[in-house]
């Protein structure tokens, strides 16, 4: 935001002799002091340039430790602070706050990670660990000298929200936000809100009627003065950034006006008859219809794809004639709405696994093999059988029924993950059958029964008590008796170590949940990330479970991962609360790590525009420069790494600062060292995890933190080699899991270019390594460092000299 720029202008550097740094080496009890000589490190730090005082203490993060820093800032007129302790991912905010309270700008603080990256991973090498700690402190001091004070800019938040998806999660989120007092647009692409929950008969573990508890919520959402319901509508485009999204929504015509009284006269005369999606094709509907009795809005809808009246020609006017209230209007046109919202909640739900490909179960081949969703409709009073469960082949009550668990879940023949709800759903369904037809013999074939939630175990016990037979071991095959359409299930009971062959009238495949097949559209529009499973990824799996990496966008329900109704509702309320916090504040501060353009250097080449994952850099042709949209920028720094003329000043991670770190770390014994650039979110966190898990690895690696591996400009790597480093490691999130959408793709390209260059110059390209490691893969980081030892050992002095001379040229 250009108007914010003046207050954040790059302030001139304090004159060098004015810089006064306070260094604090934390013992962390024995966590650090156990393998690092902290006093020695503190003594060493006092010899570094600009260091005014250097102290070591037991717990720097304690109140006393913080008070000491505050006192020193005032007494010793410190204008920079370095704390060498744990990971900045843990306590950077604590120390920044302490600095701020003492009147020091929080961006003039730097941390050296001598616990997770040093003492914990070198438990038995005190001398070398102490040397490493000194190096890390040296690098932190070198960086802190160059830090600039910064003011975080503010972005105003529009006090309106968009909820995408009108299932139970979307409804709950919309209601919570609307009740708080914010205007909410609830967009649903189906003709009615309600989602999957509306299709289900009963809910576990309380056996409440699903639609009976959902319908009141649906009508609340339908008539809430703060909720604008946009059904039969789809989000087409999203532009903007946190607090200021501009959303285009296509509202498709219903061809039925609000005058509709839902009498159904039109439906009766409609000549089009097709299977009803809501009943999973088990019942029919007409071309003009309402998907189910409790639909909200209750207005009927004309199925545009099937109606004979296309392109404005009325060929069939049966419904028009039948409608007493004259509510049918074929002149309705699609409308494109432009909404301005401050926050977005994604509650797009999930699809159901299609078991057709598991041919041994014979789904679609044998009519009495059904899915659990079909079962819900068959046992539902509003369904095609009016609640009298029967089997599809002859509409008879089956004497024996089998449930088959984990269909499409926990297996490489479907999805690898557990779908979370199927075990309890089956237990509930089995009890429902018992309720309807108590004499039915019920088998459940399972892998494990996962009854983990509140009241789940009780329900499971009740099911066993009522005589439902649980057999561990899925059937290998289902075959059909051609005459009776009964089914034979064959498999192994792995608890009894015996084979079984069971005859049942109907088999229910307990199918898993999978990501929406078209979730890539929402992913692209809102620049979200997805996990390997295909569900949307949260910003942090533990501590920010409903936030997304995109500011102002939150997740609720099955869009994030398979979950039951209770969890979906909980998450929806959480998402509403998170969105509410932003809107209540009315503004948001942006961490001052966004780039500033050095106008005079910019040549408007547009390379940064191409690599920005957030479209936050825009080419300004008139002024022959680029504009940075600060609120959209997430601060990954890949633009800075791409800029050939160093025109992007990446605040807090400037070229000079990173170069200074490289220089400091290569000051001594560079030819034995590995300089590692690790992204804050995955690789650095993975190295932290290696520390927490006490995975031991060689001491010669020195880690430099960048927000994204995409920040690592080739010149940083070249500088490390110039300074004589034996090897360089660049590590980031796995491709596809990048915290900054896809900035690490640029990392890969840059490293590949560097490899080519090294080859051309006759250098051993193995000295530059690229690693993808997630925050949970400490082992990968540790073993990579171990693996690189052979490379480091193989680097000859001649090779080092060669790279000193040659890299950087050509």
């Amino acid at each position: 935001m250009s108007e914010d720029q003046p207050q954040n202008e790059i302030k001139p550097q304090a004159k060098e002799d004015e810089i006064r740094i306070g260094v604090y080496i934390c013992h962390c009890g024995l966590n650090i002091a156990g393998s690092v000589d902290c006093e020695d490190v503190a003594k060493f730090a006092s010899t570094l340039p600009h260091v005014a005082i250097s102290k070591d203490n037991r717990y720097t993060c304690s109140d006393q430790g913080q008070d000491l820093i505050k006192k020193d800032i005032k007494e010793h007129k410190l204008n920079r602070v370095v704390v060498a302790s744990c990971s900045p991912r843990l306590h950077e905010p604590t120390f920044r706050r302490a600095c701020e309270e003492a009147g020091l700008n929080k961006y003039l603080f730097e941390m050296a990670n001598i616990r997770e990256h040093c003492s914990w991973v070198h438990l038995y090498e005190k001398e070398k660990a102490t040397e490493k700690a000194k190096d890390l402190v040296r690098a932190a001091v070198a960086k802190v000298v160059l830090l600039d004070p910064a003011v975080e800019s503010e972005v105003l938040i529009t006090r309106k929200a968009l909820v995408i998806g009108g299932g139970v999660a979307g409804i709950q989120a919309a209601l919570d936000l609307a009740d708080t007092g914010y205007k909410v647009y609830l967009v649903e692409r189906e003709p009615s809100i309600g989602g999957r929950m509306a299709q289900i008969d009963k809910t576990f573990p309380t056996m409440d009627c699903s639609i009976c508890i959902l319908a009141p919520k649906m009508s609340d959402a339908g008539r809430h003065p703060n909720i604008e319901l946009l059904t039969n509508s789809e989000v087409q485009d999203v532009k903007g950034y946190i607090g200021n999204f501009k959303v285009k929504v296509l509202k498709k015509p219903r061809f039925v006006t609000k005058d509709c009284s839902a009498c159904g006269d039109c439906s009766k005369v409609c000549p089009i008859i097709v299977p009803n999606e809501f009943d999973v094709g088990l019942a029919t509907r007409h071309g003009i219809y309402t998907p189910f009795a409790q639909a909200v809005p209750s207005t009927y809808i004309v199925d545009q794809n099937l109606c004979l009246n296309k392109e404005g020609i009325i060929k069939c006017d049966k419904c028009i004639k039948a409608c007493e209230r004259k509510a049918i209007n074929f002149d309705m046109k699609p409308e494109q709405l432009e909404l301005e919202v401050g926050t977005i909640i994604v509650a797009t739900g999930a699809d159901v696994y299609d078991p057709t490909s598991l041919q041994n179960y014979g789904y679609r081949k044998f009519s009495n093999v059904i899915t659990s969703l079909e079962f819900e409709r068959l046992i539902n009073a509003g369904g095609p059988s009016a609640g009298h469960l029967f089997r599809p082949s002859d509409m008879m009550i089956p004497e024996a029924v089998a449930f088959i668990q984990c269909v499409g879940s926990r297996s490489d023949r479907g999805h690898l993950y557990c779908s979370n709800v199927c075990c309890m759903n089956t237990i509930k369904d089995a009890l429902l059958i018992k309720e309807h037809w108590p004499d039915t013999k019920i088998y459940v074939f399972y892998v494990d029964i996962r009854a983990f939630g509140k009241g789940f175990e009780d329900l499971y016990k009740r099911a066993r008590k009522e005589g439902i037979i649980f057999i561990r071991g899925l059937p290998a095959e289902i075959s059909e008796d051609r005459k009776t359409h009964n089914l034979w299930l064959m498999g192994e009971n792995t608890l009894q170590k015996e084979l079984y062959k069971v005859n049942v009238g109907m088999a229910i495949l307990s199918v898993g949940i999978e990501p929406r097949r078209d979730s890539d559209i929402i992913q692209r529009l809102l620049v979200l990330s997805r996990t390997g499973d295909g569900f949307f990824m949260e910003a942090h799996p533990k501590l920010r479970p409903v936030d997304t990496p995109t500011g102002g966008v939150f997740l609720a329900g099955c869009a994030e991962a398979p979950k039951d109704i209770k969890d979906s509702v909980t998450q929806a309320s959480a998402a509403a609360a998170r969105a509410g916090i932003l809107m209540a504040k009315g503004k948001v501060t942006v961490e001052a790590i966004t780039p500033r353009l050095l106008d005079e250097k910019c040549k408007a080449c547009g390379l940064c525009v191409k690599v920005c994952p957030y479209n936050a850099v825009v080419l300004n042709k008139d002024l022959k420069r680029v504009d940075i949209i600060e609120a959209a920028c997430a601060g990954c720094g890949t633009c800075g790494a791409e800029c050939p003329s160093s025109a992007l000043y990446m605040r807090h991670f400037t070229d000079e600062q990173i170069m200074a770190q490289v220089d400091a770390l290569t000051e001594q014994d560079a030819d034995k060292k590995i300089i590692a650039f690790c992204c804050n979110w995955c690789a650095y966190a993975g190295a932290d995890f290696a520390g927490v898990s006490r995975m031991q690895y060689p001491t010669n690696v020195r880690i430099i933190r960048t927000m994204c591996s995409g920040r690592v400009a080739p010149k940083f790597v070249e500088r490390a080699f110039e300074r004589g480093a034996a090897a360089v490691l660049v590590a980031g999130c796995h491709i596809g899991d990048c915290h900054y959408i896809n900035a690490n793709v640029q990392t890969q390209k840059r490293i590949e270019r560097l490899w080519k260059k090294m080859e051309r110059l006759g250098l051993n390209k193995e000295r530059l390594q690229l690693l993808w490691a997630s925050a949970a893969e400490g082992e990968r980081v540790a073993s990579k460092v171990k693996e690189m030892q052979t490379i480091v050992n193989g680097v000859t002095p001649e090779e080092v000299e060669k790279s000193k001379k040659m890299t950087g040229k050509a």
């Binding site: 008859i273 094709g281 088990l282 019942a283 004979l308 006017d317």
Partner: protein, 107 residues
């Protein structure tokens, strides 16, 4: 009599099953009368039929053109657009009466 005739079931989608109430749903049965010799072969009825019920026949009528013939009566939705659009009043469509249906079933 198959109740499926007007129910289109897509094989690929998850709506592959024959709906359980397909037999009970009232199916429209059409009766199409074509007065062949009135037809001048303009082809409007074939082109505009929303359900593609009609096609050109091979026979030649009194006016020397190919009149339409019914390709698939079960598809007809009795919308009556062919009747409305025919310039020569040569085609009429109406719903089969219950008596006629019963009589046919007895046969």
């Amino acid at each position: 009599m198959s109740g499926m005739k007007a129910v289109t079931v897509e094989k690929k989608s998850n709506l592959w099953r024959k709906p359980l109430d397909a037999d009970k749903t009232r199916q429209l049965q059409a009766e199409i009368t074509i007065i062949k010799d009135r037809c001048k072969g303009c082809g409007y009825c074939i082109a505009y039929c929303p359900k593609e019920v009609l096609e050109e026949s091979e026979e030649i009528n009194a006016r020397g053109v190919h009149p339409p013939k019914v390709k698939d009566i079960n598809k007809c939705a009795v919308c009556g657009y062919c009747t409305a659009i025919c310039p020569d009043l040569a085609i009429f469509v109406k719903e089969k009466t219950e008596e006629k249906k019963e009589a046919e079933n007895k046969k």
